[in-house]
């Protein structure tokens, strides 16, 4: 690609982090005073030399990004993937000029706008209209440009009616839509998008994805950062995989996703396997919640297939079943059961060894909230063998079977499962129903279901 718009050479970013030494000798007042004075002297010295103050007894260098080289051409949609802490945000911050690199350099051709700052600078006391101008100016738009695009922004955000209401009165959905709409109309040469698609309802998310494709169609460059592999696969042709601050791979999206998965598997393997003890015949060694793509996740998207992978060791006893229960994280009230034997009709093999059980359940509409998974092995119809309570926790961020904006939360105490409508409700008038109207005049009983 001859027309390179982002070119990074040996890019690195270093942070200094402090460590607190846990020492047994801190017990007497004298020690405490001694260490306090010590750190005060050090702070004072740092301040005189104009250095940054860092809490802690030991300072360590930490490279959030190291030796990063890549180039991105005009009009390309590039994915940027990596696990949490891989350095994605740091790279974006450097590209957006928020922070400067500690090593290497990067050349950027044209204006960079990043959607990682959705709603930045919104002021609650100001109206939607005023905030569009404020936010637009912060993102680098001129007044004339905003005025020109104002109607399009408001229409995109679907907040026409409330445009002169202070945004502190907005629902969170309206707020985010307005914020995204401003950013989406920025028309920069390079657009950086970071996880914004996690906001809003399904319709709005589709709209956002469409907007991004439009942007790329106009010869602009898009750098798309997401944990949502489906979105990355759908939108990008090539991707950068970051791992521990270094580039693990730059290549076609498919290849990049394989690398990412391999990295995720490697880390979700042995070190994530905790010791929960063991039963008389079996031992539950690990459990992971998987998303639609088979990636380990901490979130269950309501309405998607629910997949759990369990690792069990058995001594080969006959008739061992595995039970899985979902419970509310805070109250520990159990709300769902899955039984390998009773619902699934199968058992653990009767040969000693370690087995991986991949359980896939039909999609269901769990209410939004935080849950834990309790696990147990049992000798069928006799006794429990190895039980692990709250083996893992997961979150359901949003739940509405119809994809409407109202979020069905478990904490609202209206149940844990939404019942999706199979077909539109039939509503018809009953001819002699008029008589019922008289009832309402007598006495209204105050009530609430929540």
């Amino acid at each position: 690609m001859s027309d390179v718009v982002i070119l990074a050479e040996g890019l690195g970013k270093k942070y200094l982090i402090g460590h607190q030494i846990e020492s047994a000798s801190y017990h007497t007042l004298r020690d405490v005073i001694g260490s306090t004075v010590g750190s005060f002297v050090r702070s004072a010295r740092d301040m005189i030399r104009g250095r940054q103050l860092i809490a802690g007894d030991q300072i360590e260098e930490f490279w959030a990004l190291r030796d990063v080289n890549f180039e991105i051409g005009r009009g390309e949609i590039f994915g940027l993937i990596g696990r949490n802490g891989a350095g994605k945000s740091t790279l974006l911050k450097i590209l957006a000029r928020i922070t400067e690199p500690s090593a290497g350099r990067v050349a950027i051709k044209g204006r960079v706008a990043s959607l990682l700052e959705v709603g930045t600078g919104f002021h609650g006391e100001l109206s939607g209209r005023e905030n569009v101008y404020l936010n637009g100016a912060i993102l680098g738009m001129s007044r004339a440009e905003i005025t020109r695009k104002f109607d399009a922004i408001v229409a995109f955000a679907e907040v026409e009616k409330f445009i002169d209401t202070p945004v502190k009165r907005y629902s969170s959905g309206m707020y985010v839509r307005l914020a995204f709409a401003v950013a989406a109309h920025l028309e920069p040469e390079i657009l950086v998008v970071d996880e914004v698609l996690a906001v809003g309802d399904i319709e709005f998310q589709k709209k956002c994805l469409g907007k991004m494709q439009d942007v790329a169609g106009q010869g602009r460059t898009v750098l798309f950062v997401s944990h949502n592999m489906a979105a990355v696969a759908a939108l990008t042709q090539a991707a950068i995989v970051l791992d521990a601050g270094r580039i693990a791979l730059i290549g076609p999206t498919e290849e990049a996703m394989k690398t990412y998965r391999a990295l995720a598997d490697a880390s979700a393997g042995p070190e994530n396997r905790r010791s929960w003890g063991h039963g008389r015949h079996t031992c539950i060694r690990g459990v992971r919640l998987l998303n639609d793509d088979g990636m380990p996740t901490g979130q269950y998207i309501a309405g998607k297939p629910f997949k759990v992978e369990i690792e069990v060791e058995t001594d080969g006893s006959r008739g061992v079943s595995c039970e899985l229960l979902i419970a509310d994280q805070s109250t520990r009230t159990r709300i769902a059961l899955a039984s390998l034997h009773n619902f699934g009709g199968s058992m653990l093999p009767s040969a000693p060894g370690v087995y991986r059980l991949l359980m896939s359940f039909s999609p269901f509409h769990l209410a939004a909230g935080r849950y834990v998974i309790d696990l147990g092995t049992s000798i069928v119809h006799q006794s429990w063998d190895h039980c692990v309570e709250a083996a893992i926790s997961f979150e359901v961020p949003f739940s509405n079977p119809a994809g409407l904006p109202w979020n069905f939360r478990h904490s609202a105490e209206m149940g844990a499962v939404a019942l999706p409508f199979a077909r539109p409700t039939v509503i018809e008038s009953i001819p002699d129903g008029m008589a019922a109207a008289a009832v309402y005049t007598e006495k209204v009983v105050p009530c609430s279901l929540a």
């Binding site: 301040m47 957006a96 400067e100 930045t120 002021h123 100016a137 680098g140």
Partner: protein, 290 residues
Amino acid sequence: MVPIQDLSQAQRGAGVAERVIVLEPGRAERNYWRDLWHYRELFLILAWRDVAVRYKQTVIGVAWALIRPFLTMVVFTIVFGRLANLPSEGQAPYPVMVFAGLMPWFLFASVLGDASASVVGNAHLISKVYFPRLVIPTATAVVALVDFGINFIVLALIMAWYGFLPGWQVVFLPAFVLLAILASFGPALWITALNVKYRDFRFLVPFIVQFGLYVSPVGFSSSVVPEEWRLLYSLNPMVGVIDGFRWCLLGGQSSLYWPGFLISLGIVVLFLWIGIRNFRATERTFADML
């Protein structure tokens, strides 16, 4: 891989209007001042935001801008003019003289206070979007100027009450307003930059403002300072600024002490240089420290 130099040459050759930005450690931004000009609309809109929300959710609103200096003037007139029996400037009524000194002082104090807290207060912006950081502390000056304008009305009313008219010197007032702002920008920018790193300065600013009110000739005329100390006294940049204001507003009742004024002017420029230099040197790391 295309070397960076080729990238910028290629675009020069192609005559593309797009700018190539090279980001590397410790690189001074060559286009900084042009960038700052480019972001003038952000400056205006941030200033407008601060003005718009300043008196929201207050009961008496903008009256705060009237009450504070007015009551200070009353107290100073009583304490310095009546109890201490200090002389005014020439024939000027004491309250008029005090108020003419209070106006630049309040301007200075609010720029210093607002600016030094502004960067930390706008951390959510700084950690998410790029723009020349100088925009944030300087935009706070506009709020101070709005309050200053309101004070000006109060001054006009006080002058009308005493039947006192300023002379031709009043045409120079805008220059001294600018001087007052520049005098406050120097220390304000310096402290703003330091405050990001060391929050100790948050406690220092109210102290400077409180202390400065008494060491600057606000409640009294600088002519009460003995002749042999006046040069030394002028090391306080606000001495020059306040004297300038009185010279403008008190219509020939006050004379400018030139050697002292020039020293104050020099200090203002020196502080401004230190302030901008320090601010520029640290602004690139603001996002890491907030």
